[in-house]
Amino acid sequence: MEHHQANWGRPRNDVYGEYDFAIHNAGSHDEPTTRTLQPTVTGSSVIGIKFDKGVILAADTLASYGSLRRFVDEQRLFQVGDQTVVGISGDVSDMQNIQDTLDQLEIEANYDADGYPGPTAPSIHMYLRRLLYYQRSRMDPLWNSILVAGFKNDEPYLAYVDLLGVTYQSGCLATGFGNYLAIPLLRKLVDNDGDEKNVTYEQARKAIEEAMKVLFYRDGRATDTYHVAVITKEAGVQIEKTKCENMSWKFASQIKGFGTQKE
């Protein structure tokens, strides 16, 4: 009896043709390496602004699968150490991987009670820059844009890093759509370096709330619940969940060309 799987029990060769041995010989060893070439489940904008005594960061709770509202209660702001918050947009699985990496970093910083105060915002930012630049250089990127907020030598600190390893710092920063929708609002308060010294917490908080509202109005991948992280010298890190308030959708009636409208 012919036991070989390529021959045994096959339809007749004269009717259905010869067996293609390439099928039998196909194996995982000769398949090409695959990489993340596009994000799958994604978080939208993260926005941040400095004020006189610290930094505020905000990110909504939605994780989208393409245009689908897939996960509606994800937290995308994470505390690392006592005085730093990392806000991550982009691919959620890569975000969780980064989160685990930073968590281990924090554990290792506290292994010995040697007086080392743990990683600071600039050192965490540098770590992420090297990590994301390394991955992009391997052509296997972590598909994220990240804001790091905290303190550098007692001064508020806010910095950006993305999947290419690009970094920059500014008085206000945003990722994704926030770059177009939130930054113009935030720059009204903090345009120049040092402007944050004349901005109170209340002003900064209000600007963040307005910006998150605009993002919910106009970004189809945003939602109305979001986390706000406030980082100050006195109180450390406080992260709370909140919702957009006092919205007005009047403008929506002016938008033409969608839905059942004829024009």
Binding site: D100, D103, I107, E108, D112, D114
Partner: protein
């Protein structure tokens, strides 16, 4: 020791005719000469304390900590050969990290103690390795509350309510037995731990030492951290007062 000269004590992988592995027993000797370490399990936490023998006045005070952290919620104190202890701790850290990576939650104390002790036990089986010259007291809190284990050079890992090892272990153990562990609270446990270390040091008075105190409990958010300075000072004050009081009674 009866084994000397017989040749049965040269290898880990050879039993003596009466069923002993002498290299492992010698490792325990190394432990018995080390500075005292103790652990106390109380209502909702654990305290670790060591008598860190200071071998030179040139060492910086408070440097070269002996109690180490394995994961956020786990601490370890050990007596014996310090480098062996540090290696064991790094193995414990690897186990804790890999657990966290696999299951995304903190490793439980019984599992961690079991894994560390398996590693220690493996070092009693082969002629190519030397057993660990330490006894490690592993303490911490997990989802099931506080835990305290002691891992010995032969690979034993037993759970304790109060554990002691090192030179002053006998004194320490008899003091631990006197404590009412069911009703002990954190602050009292810290103070008693300090007192026991000071008392255990009485037989070793010619050497300088530094006290190290750490704890993990609900009060520390489940984290293994150093006892706060204020409480540490109170504990030392209490320990010294008790020592003086004890002396007077004897006289």
């Amino acid at each position: 020791m009866t084994s000397i000269g017989t040749g049965y004590d040269l290898s880990n992988s050879v039993f003596s005719p009466d069923g002993r592995v002498f290299q492992v027993e010698y490792a325990s000797k190394a432990v018995e000469n080390g500075g005292t370490s103790i652990g106390i399990k109380y209502k909702d936490g654990v305290v670790l304390a060591v008598e860190k023998l200071v071998t030179s006045k040139l060492l910086v005070k408070g440097a070269n900590k002996r109690i180490q952290t394995i994961d956020r919620h786990v601490g370890v104190a050990y007596s014996g050969l310090n480098p062996d202890g540090r290696h064991l701790v790094s193995r414990g850290r690897q186990e804790a990290e890999s657990w966290r990576s696999n299951f995304h939650n903190p490793i439980t104390l019984p599992t961690l103690a079991q894994r560390i002790s398996s590693y220690v036990q493996a070092h009693t089986l082969y002629s190519s390795v030397r057993p660990f010259g330490v006894a490690a007291i592993v303490g911490g809190v997990d989802e099931n509350g506080p835990h305290l284990f002691m891992i010995e050079p032969n690979g034993t890992s037993w759970g304790y309510r109060g554990a002691a090892t090192g030179r002053g272990r006998q004194v320490a153990k008899s003091e631990l037995e006197k404590l009412d562990l069911d009703s002990l609270d954190g602050e009292t446990a810290v103070k008693e731990a300090a007192r026991i270390i000071y008392l255990a040091h009485e037989d070793n008075k010619d050497k300088d030492f530094e006290l190290e105190l750490t704890w993990a409990s609900q009060a520390t958010n489940g984290r293994h951290v150093e006892v706060p300075k204020q409480l540490f000072d109170q504990a030392v004050e209490y320990a010294l007062a008790e020592l003086d009081g004890g002396d007077e009674m004897e006289e």
